[in-house]
Symmetry: C2
Subunit: 200 residues, 2 copies
Amino acid sequence: MPAFRNPGQRAGLTRDRVLAVARELLVEHGMDGLTMRALAERIGVSPNALYSHVESKTALVDDLLDEVLAEVDAPALDVGDPIAGVHALMTSTYKVLLAHADLIPAYLARQGARGPHAQHLGDVMLALLERAGVTGSRAQEALHVLIVYTIGSAAFATRAPLASGESSPPTSRDHAAHFDHGLRWILAGITLPADYARSA
Amino acid sequence: MPAFRNPGQRAGLTRDRVLAVARELLVEHGMDGLTMRALAERIGVSPNALYSHVESKTALVDDLLDEVLAEVDAPALDVGDPIAGVHALMTSTYKVLLAHADLIPAYLARQGARGPHAQHLGDVMLALLERAGVTGSRAQEALHVLIVYTIGSAAFATRAPLASGESSPPTSRDHAAHFDHGLRWILAGITLPADYARSA
DNA sequence: ACCTGAACACCGTTCAAGT
DNA sequence: ACCTGAACACCGTTCAAGT
């Protein structure tokens, strides 16, 4: 907060640096510790300077969450079994989320991300689902249920076991197996005929 | 905020009234609209007066979320199939959550509730699981995965369909059927031998 | 275009009174 | 015990400068 610069003097700040320091703050002190003012202080700039590089705090967090999704491997759109492609995509997402466990509560609160990477992954998913015969609002639903399931599973896997009972705690391999079973069930449900449950 | 009372004059405020108005505010304006100051203003009291009836804002929201769980039907502990009991309990919880859809984002953010009602339902669940042969940290895990799944499913069911595509949107009956399928799968997974996935 | 200083309109919470 | 007034230590964001 002390003034090393006069008005008009630049700090050499970039949008990428803002995002990087924001991520540090979030990992170190959680979502409550990520404030615009704390962020500005760590960078060494006045709080309002951030608004030259970021539209709002909400947009900043959205960008943060979206950035991580760049690490997800998107399968090819037009080769192989489309449901196998969806399976691979969600499995990769699950792994990426586990690699950034500190961000999981934020994903959970927002029920996913919203930026260009999330958009792209969503488009890939919808294209794969379409090739599998799932379209329209049913595809939108399938997308959402898969996202919620994946984030929820990642949240569950990062929960420290409460250490009661005699059996050994579940390994990350156990969690991954659990995740995989559920994923396969959901995919089976999604590809059923659309009116399988329309009866009384 | 205008002063109708002098210091020392009571407003006849009760803890139940604070909770009731807090719930109004949350339903009307969402989680962001529920502030201690807005709450105090609607009640007609100064903001700090609330702290005579509530420990903190966090505790207030916790109580709010917990209160709703009083509506859940807890099955008998010691009669019938315990897994059928767990199934009935989660199904009742799902229905109660849908009946208070405005609160679902808050449950999601906190991954459940924490008060006495939540505690009681958790105890019932653990007792049922124990009768089904699931104990220790594995039971804790099962509890958590069932909670996350149920809240996530309720969140999914209350999402307005995005209205693209030719097929008719899924009914609440469809959602309930989906929820039931997933619940049965999870229960099957939970009751498998503990080391089913321990291989390489 | 990018920064500072100052300010606006808020927060949750505490502390010292008053009855 | 329950309330008010005032204050503390914060928020996100905007506006008017300066270069």
